[in-house]
Symmetry: C2
Subunit: 438 residues, 2 copies
């Protein structure tokens, strides 16, 4: 992904110009959080430290960018000159990758001169949004998969190349075993996986001829798709061809029909014919509900290939992230529109990992539990190296195994909110009175 | 966007290898279509000729790509050598940009040696999917907007940078007036627009001070957001400051509260105070339903800023595009799984623009009406220059004004299907019998 400071809303640049023009360049703090969870979600999963570092680093305007901005006949020359030299010099805090979060919990805090912190907003949100969206959806899939392998097959129906990469990354981070997306393999070292498509089978004069061509080419890697014509015949033909060629059959994929019945039948036939190690892979419109249903019905599945519904988080395709000013020049800030509650001041979140209860405090307060916001950028420079994706994944899997069952239940909604500290509440009330008074 | 042939599913590469290994490299035809429309859609809008040309051009493997593929220890050396020299040499047909389409109508046909046509699949779909998805959603917004200006404010909650660009492009193509996405302005010449955010207002000690700072910086471009505190007071303060500075007030933006009542009040106050040319811009969770409701209630709105719900097509966040093999080595192909109907053979779509009725034919049949699939790539080279985005937009607006009202009704679903020619039906029946027989 080529990030650019032009991946921004025009008003970020006009506001920046107006801040500078009016000498309003004091320190500000913005926090990124959600007021409520999307439909069907009991938690969200934070992911994106690496992207935050990239965003910070990418906030440099090229001569080309400046030419374009100049062509808008909107900005004064002094501002364009300023942009030529612009660098972000602020400090950024973020949750750890793979950490669960809940409403009102700031997962990122940016502290910088206000015009700088403002410029970060759009690109930061644009990059974190799909990661959090998909990690949160995919974690639900993992929650019901009872240790079975799940892989990402969504690339063709994601919202473009960046989305495709982020789906592969985010789903792997929460426990998927791999992706079909080859570029994600190259860029993020996500294991790449694949089977074979119906079109390959249909391209040959017969199913057996197609199986033969595939098994001859990949004698030790072949998962054959068996439902192009009749799935039961397909399984038998796959076995016949594997025997005929004397090669291993890694598995069979079933992409349509009654997945429960067909997988039982497939297992029976494969076992009977001596192909006990051949895996059964299911795909076709799967999501956490369908997977839970298939596994609850006792289907002897080894792996699921999930696509569109997870890759677009189709039941809840966005997270209502907001990036709110909480302090400027030492003065805590709050906005109180109907239905748009927020807590003022720079805050921290403490988690008690034995109960998974959180506490939202001011940064000046102390609390038991683990503080979740950590400094990752100081004066514009990274002060951490993000964990490798496989480490993030290991950590997530371990943590997730200890998350209370009600949070992981995909059918019932729980309202898991942080406890709000005395300090935050007091400040909230104080500002509320000032706003009502003013 | 850096397109790469690695933006693909692993199985496209393994199938390619198996096709080559078994000498199966005859001419094939694949068609891209949908079997059914997404929820709440009466039509889809095709967009993406430029992207198809870019995809075709981008199918070159870099030495780096080859090294990565080699590291998978999956592919034979001869295949990696082949990929080093790979170019797409096929022919591509596509609908015109901005053309409406319906179930079973191929909007793209790829004719190429089968291993090449197969490789195109994932990247082609990944690139066209968000364009079609968003153009189709945004056209519904345009359908209810009664000529009012609509602009795209969705960038922060789209699924990454590529999605953000494609949302800006697709929504502009169907009649939006602009986008907040500055990079889309630079890359696609979409007009960029913006107002000011609540955070800017809150950063100052008072609303008037903030308005002053903004109006002084942009005396002839300012749309002020007036609902940070009390919207009625906000409007009055905006007027006061504009008068005090003797500058124009381009407009006011209202982002929360009762948009109908507030816009009426705003219009009244602005007119009374002599700001008749100041526009009223509404935003905040808007989609086609909300816009229709606001306009039906007589709100005196000039423009709408729409964000997340359109930028993610939130009520239907994916289009179930399929790319199906329809012919190989001159032999028509069909697959008949339950619920997965398709028509075999290379096809054309003819449209009667006086009735908007379509006819699906074999390419060998003739028909009255305009043929919609046109050759855009021959032997791997573009044979057209895509229309400029502004021309696509003009053409769409003109065509869309003539689309029958039931199709544009956002509340009721119509089932608009092409008539299927004798030739297609005959071939369908013939292949059905063969499949049942086999």
């Amino acid at each position: 992904m080529n990030l650019s400071p032009l991946v921004t809303d025009l008003y970020q640049l006009t506001m920046m110009c107006a801040y500078l023009n009016s000498g309003k360049t004091g320190e500000a703090a913005f926090e990124l959080f959600v007021r409520e969870l999307p439909k069907n979600r009991n938690f969200l999963v934070f992911l994106g430290r690496e992207e935050i570092l990239k965003v910070v680093e990418s906030l440099r305007f090229t001569p080309d960018d400046i030419d374009y901005l100049n062509s808008l006949k909107l900005f004064p020359d002094w501002f364009l000159d300023y942009l030529k030299e612009f660098e972000f010099t602020g400090t950024v805090y973020a949750f750890k990758d793979g950490e669960l979060f809940f409403p009102y919990e700031p997962v990122v805090r940016v502290e910088a001169p206000i015009h700088q912190a403002q410029l970060l907003e759009t690109l930061l949100m644009n990059q974190l949004h799909p990661l959090v969206l998909i990690a949160s959806k995919a974690a639900r899939v993992v929650a019901v998969s009872r240790g079975k392998t799940v892989v990402d097959f969504s690339l063709r129906r994601t919202h473009g190349t960046d989305a495709g990469l982020k789906v592969a990354k985010a789903s792997y981070a929460v426990g998927f075993a791999g992706t079909s997306n080859v570029l994600a393999g190259k860029l993020y070292s996500v294991p790449v996986v694949g089977t074979v498509a119906h079109s390959f089978i249909m391209a040959f004069r017969s199913e057996k001829e197609a199986f033969r061509a595939y098994l001859e080419t990949f004698p030790s890697h072949s998962v054959l798709i068996v439902d192009t014509y009749d799935p039961v015949r397909g399984i038998k033909r796959a076995i016949e061809v594997a025997k005929e060629l004397g090669v291993e059959l890694k598995g069979v994929r079933i992409d349509s029909g009654d997945l429960v019945e067909l997988s039982k039948l497939a297992r029976e036939i494969l076992d009977r014919e001596g192909f006990r190690s051949a895996k059964i892979i299911l795909s076709g419109g799967l999501d956490e509900y369908k997977i839970d249903q298939v596994l609850s019905a006792g289907a002897p599945v080894d792996a699921f290939g999930v696509g569109t519904k997870v890759g677009t988080s189709s039941d809840a395709p966005y997270v209502d992230f907001v990036y709110k000013l909480v302090e400027v020049e030492g003065r805590p800030i709050m906005k109180t529109s109907t239905g748009k509650k927020m807590y003022p001041g720079r805050k921290q979140v403490y988690r008690d990992y034995s109960t998974w209860k959180d506490r939202l405090t001011l940064v000046t307060e102390s609390s038991p539990g683990e503080p979740l916001l950590e400094k990752i950028v100081i004066n514009g420079s990274p002060v951490i190296s993000p964990l490798s994706l496989s480490r993030i994944r290991e950590r997530f899997i371990e943590l997730f195994s200890r998350v209370p069952a009600p949070l992981k239940n995909i059918y019932t909604q729980v309202n898991w909110l942080p406890e709000v500290s005395e300090g935050v509440l007091k400040l909230y009330k104080q500002l509320e009175e000032e706003l009502l008074g003013g």
